[in-house]
Symmetry: none
Subunit: 392 residues, 2 copies
DNA sequence: GTGGAGCTTGAATCCCCCT
DNA sequence: TAGGGGGATTCAAGCTCCA
């Protein structure tokens, strides 16, 4: 490869090499959308064990190590600058990260002139717990979605996203599972091939929301090729760049095995609706029942005091509404929602009724009732054939 | 006002003035926790505004944009530097923002030496919809929770958070409604007094998770005083700083109307690390378990004999309940309290249960059941003046 | 086949006091 | 201050295995 001459656009390929070097060879303004999953600079200090003494297989790869924040910033500015050059005027970029790196990426995106459209929270349905009980469970990652500039007339497939979300606007928080099971690429020993393979569902939503069929999608950190595979499936064109030979090889094979969906099927897929779970503690926080309140059972024989963390206290005993109910009645279990009551003007009201009230208030409080301005939205078009001449 | 002399800590007050100027007068290392909701409306108006609300004089577009970001960074670095000085070594800070400003704040926090512990997503149950249908509904805001430094031994009330969430670890995504209804402060025309008043439930969770009763909580952008009001309610000490006279006045009245919860109502599930340590030997001394007793692991495969000094003996090996458990299982460490059991009528009981029994007996034997020493909360009304002299 | 128990695993900045 | 040791700490999925 000669670094100076811009090559023709190598479509539907996984290119092996350093992402900045390879990007330098591609022509300006040639890409519709970029999805980037750069190293997070995790800075793990030592071994971490689960309470059962098994060792957590953390990300200790060399590619995630940087000497300091300045080195990470320099790396980030380099690849984002090239990415911006490759993006056409109305194109958009997605970058995913965690709190370790996403603030640096967001600031540099803004410094370079990108215009942030949304920050999207990927809420994981099955995150790894916090084993030492020293922080909140790190249960999400953040994606920044940005246009090339403030005046970009970018693509957002509003109707497709709304349809994907049971006909209400898609929100900035997405609830999706990790990449596990058969989707996870494994080596001959059955071990995960890549420590941070992203779920296909995530890329599905990204591509359906912000690209059209036949759009060119670039992934500068292609890894095992999730972006490329989903682009092929959804009949987008793709360019993947990957430095590590093993990952690149796996990605090439994966994309080759992928079959594009039928033309008329490149549309929305239904999404499971989440049922909101209401912890008792949230009723306390929201002052539906104040800390210090007294609750009692139906027969007014057992009493307990509500504490600010949502536990109940009765003498020396403390526990959740369920646990304390079980303890005081010597039962193996207890539904605290129906067991405990508050006295409201002499009448006993079960906690379950309070919960129902809180949920009702939540939905009526919503400000989301205004109609949308009626301008036409781009939706996904039907487009010509796949062109997957995959190269190495 | 002489910026050089540090004043005594003005507890339980709303101070009117520019936050950096006021902070400069407070003594270093005097604050346990900071909650900050800095302004981030700089680019949302037709004209560009500096953080002090003055209009940026348009020269040319590029310069303006750069000037705006640079001005915001400068402002952010200023107040965060003072905040870090005021924070005691093991204190933590919370900063809330949206994608407009949170990336700059996060990067500067890291640059200043703060150590990010979590980024917390406040998912709004009732967000404003996206009226133009050109983006995802912006349905969340981001909070960064950070310790003063990498080696801070910060407070995290793990058990309280777990209790608040129905006995599973609290995650980094919080689902809470906006501040509406009676909680929202309004002016004489019924219009909302402050554009971004935060819900009390959010501050409840923040304060319960990361502060103890009597801790000093600082809010440099106090607004209508949500932080101060919740601190008073939960029996924390507070210092609020607010520049705008109308907001400060509203906050002072609001805090005055707030009543602290009873002492016994603000107690949350205690952290086990803070429980008094009970050496295993004391159980032997007090004959909860007799010397010569046999203990075994859960599967009855490993056995050991209790010696009078509280060590366990297995063949030639001898050590503490922890050491011997680790030795016999070839593990790097072992919690002997949960590893070893005694056989009680054919049923295995962990040593941990014995310890709980001993502690329960201790507390019932104890005569010391008096509540915590109550310190009088300064009410704003009781103070000679509102200290607005502090500020310019 | 089927259901339940048990095992494995996931981008993780994961302890703290005393000597 | 570096080292030693007490002892606190996990949730949701998907898979295997066996009854």
């Amino acid at each position: 490869m000669s670094g100076a001459t811009a090559m023709e656009l190598p479509l539907d390929q996984i290119l092996r090499g350093e992402c900045v070097e390879v990007m330098r060879m591609l022509p300006s303004g040639s890409v519709d959308c970029i999805f980037a999953d750069p190293p997070y600079n995790l800075q793990l200090r030592g071994e971490l064990r689960r309470p059962d003494d098994t060792v957590v297989d953390g990300v200790d790869d060399d590619w995630d190590k940087f000497s300091d924040l300045a080195a990470y910033d320099h790396f980030t500015r380099d690849w984002l600058s090239e990415a911006r050059r490759l993006l056409r005027k109305d194109g958009t970029i997605w970058v995913i990260g965690s709190y370790h790196n996403i603030f640096r990426i967001g600031a540099i995106l803004q410094d370079l002139g990108f215009w942030i459209l949304n920050d999207i929270v990927w809420r994981k349905s099955n995150p790894m717990p916090n084993f030492r009980g020293r922080r909140f469970t790190n249960a999400h990652e953040t994606m920044i979605w940005a246009a090339r500039g403030q005046d970009s007339r970018y693509r957002f497939n509003y109707q497709a996203m709304k349809a994907l979300n049971d006909d209400v606007q898609m929100r900035s928080d997405w609830y999706l599972p990790l990449c596990t099971g058969g989707e996870r690429l494994r080596n001959e020993h059955g071990l995960k091939l890549h420590p941070t393979q992203k779920p296909e569902s995530l890329l599905h939503r990204v591509l359906v929301s912000s690209t059209a069929a036949d759009d060119v999608v670039l992934d500068p950190f292609a890894g095992t090729g999730t972006t490329a595979a989903m682009a092929k499936r959804l009949r987008r064109r793709f360019i993947g760049i990957e430095r590590h030979p093993d990952y690149a090889e796996a990605a090439i094979g994966r994309v080759r095995r992928e079959t594009p969906l039928p033309h008329d099927a490149v549309a929305t897929t239904p999404m499971k609706r989440e049922a909101p779970r209401v912890p008792f503690g949230s009723l306390v926080e929201r002052n539906f029942i104040a800390p210090g309140s007294i609750v009692c059972d139906k027969s007014r024989r057992l009493f307990a005091t509500v504490s600010p963390d949502g536990t109940l206290i009765c003498g020396a005993k403390r526990g959740s509404i369920h646990k304390l109910g079980a303890m005081l009645t010597n039962a193996p279990s207890c539904n605290g929602w129906t067991f405990w009551h508050i006295d409201r003007d002499g009448e006993l009201v079960p906690l379950d009724a309070l919960r129902a009230e809180s949920q009702a208030q939540e939905s009526t409080e919503s400000t989301a009732t205004a109609p949308l301005e009626g301008h036409e939205m781009n939706d996904i078009a039907d487009l010509p054939n796949e062109r997957s001449a995959i190269a190495g």
